[in-house]
């Protein structure tokens, strides 16, 4: 009874955040000085048809938010015939507009590139979690030893290093030995089968390594302090008093409790994860969503910017929600706040 309340709250919050993001996304591109949409529409680079399509899509002749006149007339449906509603309507249809630079549908671009980012970030995260947990455990076990201090310092050091710079360093180190840019060696196509995929895999190594090392450092610091804290709890003493060996005590009592904060941390740092992905894709020219966002920034391609931001924000919100749900499943103490 209580736990389902918790879940409902979390889902509600996720939904509310989503609404906030959508509204913000819309207004950002309309309200700030130098309304970019209008500027672009009148830009000579656009063809007449593209301009008309954009105008229709965005409803630029209509009021931005609410039609006050229509409201006073009592025309409720008319009052909402605005740019904002057009935007939301399009959103629900999956229409995110057209890229200014490539003239392609933004949603198409995103769909094309999404899996590449998912593979990179997914792999990076998984490896980071595994290494983070292992190293954190070792550091906590050997607390106070030189190994522990070394691990701690390495963790602090990577925390101080910007993601993109770490990528650059890896490029300098591994240049010539591993592919440092792009997703695949030019000339290979998916039809080439295994050769193609192996090549992609090789290109994946350095960017993944960058992400993994950087994320793992934070995870290990959290795991370490979590383990240290759990080990000082009363129930660990109880377990030992019952005659459990050190290993069994750890496995059956400490482990699960130590890992719970990890879930929270992963959720909290999802924003950082996404930021890291953008930087890594840029540095290694990995053609995913992050790189797309970078290119959009360079080219002032606002629809693409808007679209990628939305996609990234939604992903993070969804992932956050998943983490909350997972936490509720694992920790029986969870109650609505």
């Amino acid at each position: 009874m209580q736990r389902s309340d918790y879940l409902i709250r979390k889902i509600g919050f996720a939904f509310a955040t989503l609404v906030v993001v959508i509204v913000f996304n819309f207004f950002l591109f309309r309200i700030l000085p130098g309304d970019p949409v209008r500027m672009i529409v009148h830009s000579p680079r656009m063809t007449r048809e593209a301009q008309e399509k954009i105008e229709a899509n965005f409803g630029l002749d209509k009021p931005v938010w609410i039609d006050k006149e229509a409201l006073t007339r009592g025309d409720i449906p008319g009052a909402f015939d605005t740019q904002f509603t057009a935007y939301v309507r399009n959103l629900l249809r999956g229409d995110l507009g057209i890229s200014f630079s490539t003239r392609r549908d933004v949603s198409e671009l995103l769909a094309e590139r999404a899996w590449r980012t998912v593979v990179l970030v997914g792999l990076g995260e998984v490896l980071a979690i595994v290494f983070g947990i292992l190293l954190g455990l070792i550091a906590a076990w050997r607390r106070g030893s030189r190994l522990d201090t070394g691990i701690l310092l390495a963790g602090l050091f990577t925390w101080a290093m910007p993601t993109f710079f770490f990528g650059i360093i890896l490029i300098i180190i591994f240049r010539g030995r591993l592919p440092v840019g792009g997703m695949v060696t030019p000339g290979l196509k998916p039809e080439d089968g295994l050769e193609y995929w192996l090549d992609v895999g090789k290109h994946l190594i350095l960017p993944t390594m960058t992400l993994t090392i950087l994320y793992a450092s934070e995870y290990l610091l959290i795991m370490r302090s979590s383990v240290v804290e759990v080990l000082s709890e009363d129930y660990i003493l109880t377990a030992k008093a019952k005659g459990l060996s050190t290993i069994r005590t750890f496995r059956d009592h400490a482990l699960k409790n130590s890992m719970l904060p990890m879930i929270t941390v992963i959720a909290l740092t999802l924003g950082y994860t996404v930021g890291g992905a953008i930087q890594v894709e840029t540095v290694f020219s990995w053609p995913g969503i992050g790189r797309l966002m970078y290119e959009a920034v360079q080219k002032r391609d606002y629809p693409v910017l808007q679209g990628t931001f939305l996609l990234l924000a939604v992903s993070v919100i969804a992932a956050n929600l998943l983490a909350d749900l997972l936490y509720a499943v694992l920790d029986p103490r969870v109650k609505p706040e």
């Binding site: 129930y235 009592h253 409790n257 719970l260 694992l330 029986p332 103490r333």
Partner: protein, 323 residues
Amino acid sequence: MAVLDVRNLSVDYLTDDGVVLHAVEDVSFSLEQGCSLGLVGESGCGKTTVMLSILRLLPEAGRIVSGQVLFEGQDLLQISEGDMRAVRWPGIAMVFQGAMNALNPVRTVESQIMEVLQLHGLFDNKNGARQRAGDLLEMVGIRAERGAEYPHQFSGGMRQRAMIAMALACVPRVLIADEPTTALDVMIQAQIIELLERLQSELDLALVLVTHDLGVVAEMCDDVLVMYSGTVAEHACSDTIFNNPRHPYTQRLLQAFPDIAQPGSQLASIPGFPPPLDDLPPGCRFQPRCHVFEGEPYCLEQHPQAVEIEPDHVVSCHLVGKA
């Protein structure tokens, strides 16, 4: 033969700064099957340290410096860790202080009881163990079905009772209850005490009750060991302690304890604090607060040895005659 016989136990702690704290010095007592010993003293006097030493569960910074802990004739301090693990629980079990967090919050209560049943070989199948866990809970007045719940769903008193049930799962020879009633309200305290008494007589347990509550001691314990600042102040059977205390500290303790037969009498407190362990007085550790002390030099020079002033009555005081 005594089931538990602690002889001249001394324990030190080593701090981060390298300072050695003599937390426990030369503590001895013995316990027969079916008897109960009350271990009394202020917070910080070393009671818990003594108990942890018996089970060899001191933290890394703790060191048993000397002494013997004879359990059924065997010195536990000499056996291997593996052998010790077999003694823990079926031999000597402990109910911890402040059972608030003594149970793992992410595991059900019954799983934690079952764990100990299966670990020590009493049951190899889960169903048998679960059944038995349920019986144990019933024994302490908790409905068996509630075993499937988590510790946070139990009240404080229930958790304490569940811990007792778990402690008795392997039918130990010795049960150590460390402050089993602290932080519980008076009604629950009475229930717990009643429970312990009943179980003790039913199972013929040797019980060590560590507490700072003299009322509980008076009700339940055959023998009493009064500790002060890591040392034995006085050790005798309960009657003797309450009617004829010879150590100044014991006397003050009793004065500080309200007597229901004399309502309205003044509660006396003992001024001062126990000495910090890194700054112990050279002589008797109680001397700075002693009401009998009047400048006697040996009180300032040497901490008194435990002396048996009459059969089964041990006191550590230079001024026994005076008090």
